[in-house]
Symmetry: D2
Subunit: 304 residues, 4 copies
């Protein structure tokens, strides 16, 4: 065991040092700094621009929580679009649903996708080679605006909107409107939606309100992700309640019919994730500003 550490600067006031057993890779793609580290507590970890993106220890929880509530809420998703998701784990979860005929993944960073295929093989677990998968290296915004094609489920697995980061635009009303036009009738849009705090602070409520204003209905849900050291938020948006009201029996039946095998997601966890603490619910219910291209919402940026 050596004294090498990765500092996850969660905020100016809370710093988490993770012991690193081995530095597998440190490089820079055209878009970001990439580190792949074998940590002692979290196993292998993907770090982009000094933020942990996913960890061997719990990537399954994060990716199952991102993918399955929306996929299961849809009665028969055939065409699915993934924005970002370079690790391939979101794709892996989507393809578990046998009804899916085509899963298109659009990631801007081709080098990163290659790195993940090589160094995080259990993340994609062969998904990149599936005949049902299509990988597009390109800009998600441009793809949404210019490419024809509609989808039953669209999943945004893009890093947090930080000040001056290009990801910021993905979390705005303008982008959500464009995404909505790519949904088929009854379609669902779901996105990772930053950390959730017990007191309801942070930008999650802004993102949910923005999505609700565009789609009509937007359900927040959350799970604790150890490698993010926080309660993590997601929002599923559609034109009517589908994720929130989903019946336990329906969940169980669909998972079984589609032969989806998970390590975390199930009818119980679906229910659990949608039960948000009262203070969060209260904050979500209040009127609030929306995230727009002109005034986008931002999270804390490490390194200041």
């Amino acid at each position: 065991m050596t004294n090498a550490w990765f500092l996850d600067e969660e905020s100016r006031d809370r710093w988490i040092f993770h012991r690193v057993r081995r530095t597998v890779l440190q490089t820079r793609t055209r878009f970001c700094n990439v580190q792949i580290l074998d940590t002692a507590a979290l196993g292998r970890v993907l770090v982009l621009d000094d933020k942990i993106q996913s960890a061997e220890l719990d990537e399954a929880i994060y990716h199952e929580a991102l993918v399955h509530p929306a996929m299961t809420a849809h009665p028969g998703p055939k065409r699915v679009l993934i924005l970002g998701g370079g690790e391939g784990a979101t794709l892996r979860e989507v393809l578990k649903h046998r009804c899916v005929e085509r899963a298109v993944m659009v990631d801007i960073d081709g080098e990163l996708v290659k790195i993940c295929r090589k160094h995080l093989p259990s993340w994609s677990a062969g998904a990149f080679r599936s005949p049902r998968a299509r990988i597009v290296i390109g800009d998600a915004v441009r793809f949404i605006l210019r490419r024809p094609g509609t989808y039953d489920v669209i999943i945004a697995d893009i890093s947090d909107p930080e000040e001056d980061s290009p990801a910021g635009v993905i979390y705005t009303r303008e982008f959500y409107r464009a995404a909505r036009r790519r949904l088929r009738p009854g379609g669902i849009f779901v996105t990772q939606a930053t950390e959730i705090f017990y007191d309801g602070s942070g930008i999650h409520p802004v993102l949910r309100a923005t999505l609700a204003s565009v789609f009509g209905r937007a359900d927040s849900y959350a799970e604790y992700i150890p490698s993010f050291s926080s309660l993590w938020g997601f929002v599923a948006a559609s034109d009517r309640a589908v994720v929130a009201g989903l019946d336990r029996e329906v969940i169980a039946r669909r998972l079984k019919e589609r032969r989806v095998r998970t390590s975390y997601y199930c009818a119980d966890m679906h229910g659990r994730m949608l039960l948000l603490p009262p203070a969060v619910r209260k904050r979500l219910a209040r009127k609030k500003r929306l995230s727009t291209k002109k005034r986008p919402a931002f999270v804390y940026t490490p390194g200041r």
Copy 2:
């Protein structure tokens, strides 16, 4: 803002530095090192022997999660015993139930109780002065063994069992047997039960199994506590299912009748806490060793 930090050494491999705005108190009682710190991220914090015990930011969540599931599951708790709980917040939550006639709190560390009354006034919020409260400075084990008197609910709010710590004995079958003899018919014993990991590792399953072997029934539940940087476990034990099967309507009605006002606990959160991740449930279901006086279960000790 100054560069003073408290290091929460969660394990040998994960170190969390909390920025400290002000050191309110550093002292040693007969039993432990005490620090009261105003941190930037968690607000005021009580630290005993280098472990965060509770924080202004989320002590309500921890204490409500510890107290209300058992209290609400009992149809009419009149006499309640609290073991430990020096901050006074467990007592505060217990007294919220109007039906309680007598709440006895037994803490070994009189100096600590004084410090908390003075420096953590919002934790006890006047509970120490309630005519329904009785504070006993003394050893919980001796109290359980020697003092007459029986209780409807017994709540163990004692720090984690660390190697060579006297708290260890509180988490053994022998102690649980003694505690059981102090329960009235239909009574419930509840205890904080260390960190829960998604993979079911750690000693929580051992504690639950030990309680089940003594009481007949033991329900695990969990909530994410930010200041502990982890999913925190609790176990409520009784001679039949009362906490796990509790009806939503019953919870809502009892809280209303007893005029209990909470910031976190409610029927939804009761349900959410009992929904444990599949891997944890699987591990809890497996046969396992028990914690006994001869072979007690221990958690990681910072500083080694």
Copy 3:
């Protein structure tokens, strides 16, 4: 021993954590944040705006190195002016020279002086009560410009010039010119002069060149100060070589005559401090820019 730490952010790339046994004081004066800490490795420490100013472990080395080379080089210093030096240790060292009739100390921060008298009593060791000492609470620049009076030795014991800090002006040609006018014939001006690096980088060479341009002669010298984790620089300036060429016998005789008792300074250490590494000497010899009011020289500022 507790897990409380002070982070000395030496640069963006080197962070030194000092274990704190006890936080004696945290406060803010009109001018700066003040911390007095009992550290495990350095003993009691004075921290201003997150920078260690002096430490019980080695303050004698720093203060003897600042004071005695110039004082000893002067054949008979009677009137001495100290700029800054709030701890009182510079005054303590000056008064050790029996020939001194009047030592005037000008510090802008009256609150800080009070704090040091109370919490760092061994630093001043009674010097503040000496009938030969006069303490002026006021601005050093204004004092130098407006007050009449001349001195045999002027000692600047002022914190490093950081960006936007008012101390910056003390390290400029304009200030040095004003100080020079307060020197009696044969007088010596000496100042702490920031960290010295083996490769000659940093602003020490700029400060030395600026002093040489004003006084005619400026001798750099250096000593390793553990609590600063670096080789520390000083410059003694005068109209001819007095500090650099000082004879061993003269040093020994003057210290004896004036009954100066030191723990570190002696003829050997005088010689040692003036022997600078070749790369530093080379850099000092090169022509370079001067520090002026318009373009003052700055050191790294922690916290950015």
Copy 4:
């Protein structure tokens, strides 16, 4: 710039974090953990078992200080033995003396030597390929005891004696006696001799006394090494004063005759290094225990 750090745990109470730009290598040889890191503040660094061995920034100072005082004090060293010194920089400095006909380097760790040749090329700077150099992979103790051959200068460049480390035996009277038998008449033995503290604490005085008891004469000297964050000690031992009394002119002449080019060492620095702080000198003068095979002297071991 990424948030990767190396923690140099100087003691239980002082931790130095160095920012790492790139992890060049992490591996384990038969004898130790090896890390080669590109740090932001110190440049490339060799770390063995979590202790910095040498750094690009200042390895020249350390190696020149280790090698040249003894080499220059000897009127004509022809055969030189280096114990340890796997980086090759000690060999590089030895070979700078043209009079050297044969330099034998004995290092136990052949893998480490290979790693250093490849990843620290500027340390050895071609010295390994010199026809005057002979590299022996083997145990220094066995070499000293069993191999014939005598030397003008023997240089011990072996890591600090830590508890339970095999290096411990190299720092004992028994080993020094064996080494002495390998010295030719007028020969000099020199060793790195751990950190020196201003108050004279630590094991340096024990090592010096042990060497003096064996060789007759042992001169301590010291220099501040930034990458070690401390004043570093060395001892040169012989049967009469040669290093301490060395004339400035002699140093300058010998360096010139032998065409030795250095970046740090010179007559001035020779003198400076031998001028030790008074408290250290006092401690060195006192009688003290010796380091023996039965009771060897140990330094602090990081990680405990």
